[in-house]
């Protein structure tokens, strides 16, 4: 082999580190450099006069005819397309190719030049990425399906639990009418409290499942009917169910609040219920509701150990239960649902916790 010279353009063409093919305007091969012949094992005689697509695999042929040839005509060049040539021995060679069309003054095509780089490793890497993406997609789809089924199950379960609960409640009412001894009255009251707690849990479950299934929290807003009686009722119920605990309530609602009254009742019930179960039992739970400066402000504060900062961040996530005694555990949906209700009202629910007090504050625009 002759020793190459730096200024030998013929050598630069023939033995370039990339393959060159020149096509006539008709698409027939005019010239191929030595590098490409070496990579593919074809002879110049075999290639000249044929079409480029005769030397690529079938997928590449279709792609060349439907994408590359038209684009060369329309925009005059095409960079970085992947194509698989086939060697004389029938083996595939992965290539990355750039192409340009030479044109005369009138814009008619004169020739096409292709520069090809062997890219076996690069293509293998890309194919592995594609395979990994495909696998991830499949597993994600199956995960989603499972999650959806689970949530549908929760929704159906929650719904079906309501009926037996209503029977228990009706039965307890009947028993309550005939209760004679102090003990009997206590048992009936306990039954009713439990029914109420369970009904609250079921509401939360259903709301959560609905939210996950795309329904979200729906509101039935009404600014004409007063909100305060709803708050009284919820807090009275909680007082009844927590004998021995003190709830100090302070109301200053002097403007109408455009809200879903039963949803706000649910939010209040969740927040006060939460304060009762997690706050110190020998300090009162302080509730305040007021309207001022175009906003409705509702807060619930309790004493006791502060919530650790790490837990504070995740408090509104579904199923978060923190480090609490097993007997106090709920599903961990109450605060999540409360925050969703706040959001649905264009409001926010925030929490601060210090050794002095833990306070949840809900703020929403009056309308």
């Amino acid at each position: 082999m002759p020793i190459p010279r730096i200024d030998d353009f013929q050598d630069m063409f023939e033995n370039s580190p990339c393959g060159y093919i020149t096509l006539q305007a008709s698409g027939r091969i005019e010239r191929v450099n030595r590098t490409l012949l070496g990579w593919t094992g074809h002879t110049a005689d075999e290639m000249i006069g044929k079409r480029f697509s005769d030397f690529v695999n079938m997928a590449g042929r279709i792609y060349y005819e439907t994408h590359i040839a038209p684009l060369l005509r329309m925009q005059g060049f095409f960079d970085e397309f992947a194509i698989e040539m086939v060697t004389a021995g029938g083996e595939p060679v992965q290539m990355i190719c750039n192409a340009l069309e030479g044109r005369d003054a009138a814009g008619n095509p004169l020739f096409i030049r292709l520069a090809l780089l062997r890219a076996t490793d690069r293509r293998r890497y890309e194919q592995e990425l594609l395979a990994a993406r495909e696998a991830a997609k499949t597993s994600l789809a199956s995960e989603r399906e499972t999650a959806e089924l689970r949530e549908q199950f929760i929704a159906v379960l929650g719904h079906d639990l309501r009926n037996p609960l209503a029977s228990i409640s009706a039965g307890a009412r009947v028993l309550g009418r005939d209760a004679k001894t102090e003990k009997e009255h206590q048992v009936v009251a306990m039954l009713q409290t439990t029914v109420m707690r369970m009904a609250g849990l079921i509401d939360n479950i259903l709301d959560f499942a609905r939210g996950r299934l795309g329904g979200g929290i729906t509101l039935d807003r009404d600014s004409r009917r007063p909100l305060e009686p709803v708050l009284h009722q919820v807090i009275d119920e909680l007082r009844l169910s927590s004998p021995g605990r003190q709830i100090e309530a302070d109301y200053a609602i002097d403007s109408p609040v455009d809200c879903d009254r039963s949803r706000i009742g649910q939010l209040v019930s969740n927040l006060v219920g939460n304060a009762l179960s997690h706050g110190s039992s020998n300090e009162p739970v302080r509730v305040r509701a007021e309207t001022a400066n175009g906003i409705f402000n509702f807060s619930v504060a309790n004493g006791g150990d502060p919530i650790p900062p790490a837990a504070l961040e995740r408090l509104f996530e579904p199923f978060f239960r923190g480090e609490v005694r097993a007997s106090r555990q709920g599903l961990g949906l109450g605060l999540h649902i409360a925050s969703q209700i706040a959001k649905a009202h264009d409001g926010v629910l925030t929490v601060t916790s210090t050794p002095e007090e833990t306070k949840f504050a809900f703020v929403m625009p009056l309308r």
């Binding site: 008709s26 698409g27 079409r51 697509s53 695999n57 079938m58 997928a59 590449g60 042929r61 279709i62 792609y63 005819e65 439907t66 994408h67 040839a69 038209p70 684009l71 005509r73 329309m74 925009q75 095409f78 960079d79 970085e80 397309f81 992947a82 698989e84 095509p109 293509r123 890309e126 194919q127 594609l130």
Partner: protein, 262 residues
């Protein structure tokens, strides 16, 4: 969003009769850029992009609707109603030849003549029928399409959608004539190359011109002859042009052949 925006419909030219151009798998209405202007003096010309291609509304892409060529044919009929086509000439390239044949049956009177450039009624071999491809080769094509995304990236999608003619987007729009969401490209390739319209050809009851290239690996001469023989009132012209896109590589020859027919 209306049909006009959905399919990026462009109407020009003047004339009593109309001529509608439909692009095939791969690129968009720009495939007709060297042919359509020649007919503007005598025809009202209608260009459009199939949903998923070019400047069409990608949000309108419906996996189920476009899983058959009939879904695309429904769009052609909708566009035809929108721009009031009657007795028009339908010019289809590649897979759009069959889309046009289906549309002509769905809306009698809308089209009076069909021009088929590089048609194939079925791409995959079937017994004695030679379509040119095996099932396996088409599967390989579908996989291969993932390797060539033509610079598609999701961030660019909004720029490409609906703005194909904005030159200020300049280099960003490189390859845009043939670029689309890889998932859609794959689905369109699947419906194209797995289609079988052999039974539909005999039902074509309007004069049809088959333009066949000399060397076309996608729609071979045998395939073109099959189409020609199966359509009752058809004629076939073998072009000197080679490849699958004579509308780009040999527009003058295509225009001359069409003129003699319409």
């Amino acid at each position: 969003m209306g049909v006009i925006e959905r399919n990026n419909v462009n109407v020009s030219g003047s004339g009593v009769r109309a001529m509608m151009f439909a692009h095939g798998f791969g690129c968009d209405q720009n495939m007709w850029r060297f042919v359509e202007p020649a007919f503007e003096a005598e025809f009202r010309t209608v260009l459009f992009d199939h949903v998923g291609a070019g400047g069409s509304d990608l949000k309108a892409y419906d996996r189920v609707k476009y899983s058959t060529l009939a879904g695309y044919a429904d769009d052609v009929v909708e566009i035809g109603h929108e721009v009031d086509l009657r007795d028009a000439v339908f010019v289809g390239h590649s897979v759009s030849c069959m889309i046009g044949a289906l549309a002509a049956q769905k809306a009698p009177g809308m089209f009076g003549k069909l021009v088929m450039v590089g048609p194939s009624a079925r791409y995959i071999d079937d017994g004695d029928y030679v379509g040119g491809f095996s099932e396996k080769q088409i599967e390989e094509l579908l996989q291969f399409l993932e390797s060539n995304h033509m610079g598609w990236s999701t961030q660019m999608a909004p720029a490409i959608m609906g703005n194909p003619n904005r030159p200020e987007l300049g280099t960003e729009l490189t390859n845009s004539f043939c670029r689309t969401d890889p998932e859609i490209a794959k689905a369109f390739a699947r419906v194209t190359f797995k289609s079988d319209n052999r039974e539909d050809l005999a039902k074509i009851d309007i004069p049809t011109l088959v333009l066949q290239c000399s060397e076309d690996i996608i729609a071979s001469k045998a395939v073109g002859e099959f189409v020609h023989r199966a359509i009752p009132d058809s004629e076939m012209i073998i072009l000197e042009a080679t490849g699958h896109c004579p509308n780009l590589s040999a527009p003058d020859e295509v225009i001359a052949a069409m003129r003699s027919f319409v």
